[in-house]
């Protein structure tokens, strides 16, 4: 059994070893997660995703630094960082390099950085990332920044885990067609245009702004052939409703820290919105339900496997391979026939 009390008391070595046990999904790690569960649920989980090279690690570094050194007398917050990088599909090994960009945070006992390899998961996180995040939450870290694998279009697991999801873009990476595709841009609670000193930033901002306007029509005025025209939204009633969150666009230059205080303010505003609208609770309810169903599925499959006669699965499978039965018939045979056979 893991020394859960040591983790709760702030012992960093105990926490580090617990994270390894969770990541390896050992029985001790599972037991510790259960013991820690009542202590979790307080941290603000902030996801940071986006294409490789948009500056996610640098932005995480600056955001964490901002929380540790807040302006004008605010209390610093403790910060945990979970940085996920891909595992090799061939060797299973990985080079985890996100720490290279996080040097500003060393020597600070209020920061804990942990690198994770994705270990074959395809959704942008590792299978045990949620467990690692829960351990940090229970250990009392107030902010948990979760940096995904460099994500393309469909790696959207982060939105299910985090309270607030930042999608980081950089100038020159895509046109306005990219911006209307389904997927990663849709999960953004806040859109960040990093490297905002690069040429093309206006185009990126315009493409994202147009995408948002399609999703959240607002009355706006523009100039057409020199005449001012007002365009009313297609929806009859303008969404003046406070319950609707329209993702803001924040420009940053992470290497210099420009725009980071403003970004932190938007993150805080999103948290306030989540709490006021009831979404905070809805999100964690949905998350727990999903976790429960995933675990239940795993457990049922395990139990069923233990109960069927040995070789029965292989027998049915070989019938399937010989096309004597279809995949659905195979499932029926396995579920119904197993016990009588």
């Amino acid at each position: 059994m893991f020394p859960v009390e040591d983790v709760l008391a702030g012992n960093r070595l105990a926490l580090a070893r617990l994270l390894t046990a969770i990541e390896n999904d050992t029985p001790a790690g599972r037991a510790a997660l259960s013991a820690l569960f009542p202590h979790a649920g307080r941290a603000h989980l902030i996801g940071v995703t986006g294409a490789p090279g948009t500056g996610k690690s640098s932005l995480v570094n600056r955001l964490a630094y901002h929380y540790r050194h807040p302006p004008d007398g605010e209390a610093p917050k403790t910060v945990a960082i979970v940085a996920v990088d891909p595992s090799s599909p061939f060797s299973g090994g990985a080079v985890l390099g996100d720490r290279v960009r996080m040097r500003d945070l060393t020597g600070d006992q209020g920061v804990f950085i942990r690198s994770m390899a994705s270990r074959g998961s395809l959704g942008g996180l590792a299978r045990m990332t949620a467990g690692v995040v829960q351990a940090f939450d229970a250990a009392g870290y107030e902010i948990v920044l979760i940096e995904t694998v460099g994500a393309g279009q469909a790696e959207v697991d982060i939105a299910r885990l985090a309270h607030t999801t930042l999608v980081v873009e950089a100038p020159g990476l895509g046109d306005d067609i990219q911006a209307i595709k389904a997927g990663i841009l849709e999960i953004a609670d806040i859109l960040v245009i990093n490297k905002a000193d690069r040429p093309g930033v206006e185009n990126t901002e315009r493409a994202l702004r147009n995408m948002l306007n399609l999703a959240h029509p607002l009355p706006r005025v523009y100039r057409h052939h020199g005449a001012l025209q007002e365009v009313l939204p297609a929806v009859a009633e303008a969404p003046a409703d406070e319950a609707i969150w329209i993702p803001p666009i924040q420009k940053t230059i992470a290497t210099r820290g420009d725009g980071v205080p403003e970004l932190a303010a938007e993150i805080a505003r999103h948290r306030t919105h989540l709490e006021a609208s009831g979404d905070w609770e809805r999100r964690w309810r949905a998350r727990l339900q999903r976790e429960l169903e995933d675990l239940l599925q795993d457990a049922l499959v395990h139990r069923w496997r233990r109960e069927i006669p040995p070789n029965y699965y292989e027998d049915v499978f070989s019938q399937l391979v010989q096309r004597q039965i279809s995949p659905r018939q195979a499932v029926d045979a396995l579920l119904n026939g197993g016990r009588e056979a």
Binding site: L19, N24, V95, R103, T106, G107, S115
Partner: protein, 138 residues
Amino acid sequence: MSASERKIRVLIAKPGLDGHDRGAKVVARALRDAGMEVIYTGLRQTPEMIAEAALQEDVDVVGLSILSGAHMALAPRVLELLKANGQEHVKVFIGGIIPDEDVPGLKAVGVSGVYGPGTLTDQIVADIRQIVLGEEAA
């Protein structure tokens, strides 16, 4: 968990002031291809930064790349800090330009292996496997 499922985690760091990180990157890549998880911290790390990263990442092995000649000062300091953090089980190896006459002294303070130019990466992989998994099996 059986030894075969266990992922070996290695921190590769460059302490000191020289900026030659080619060797560190070659070794990081070789260990990756051998199925290990390598945390790469980049250039100009202090021993304190290295020990802190080793703790947070709960690594099995720390690899130091030193070409500045400061190995007799840096390596013992890293070992000392690891121990102070309760990580005396972490193995430390060194790559880079290390004069032969310094090797016994480094081994005496607890360095597990010293690898100079021309070392085969397979040798480093085999030694790490032996030192991490061999001890657990014993």
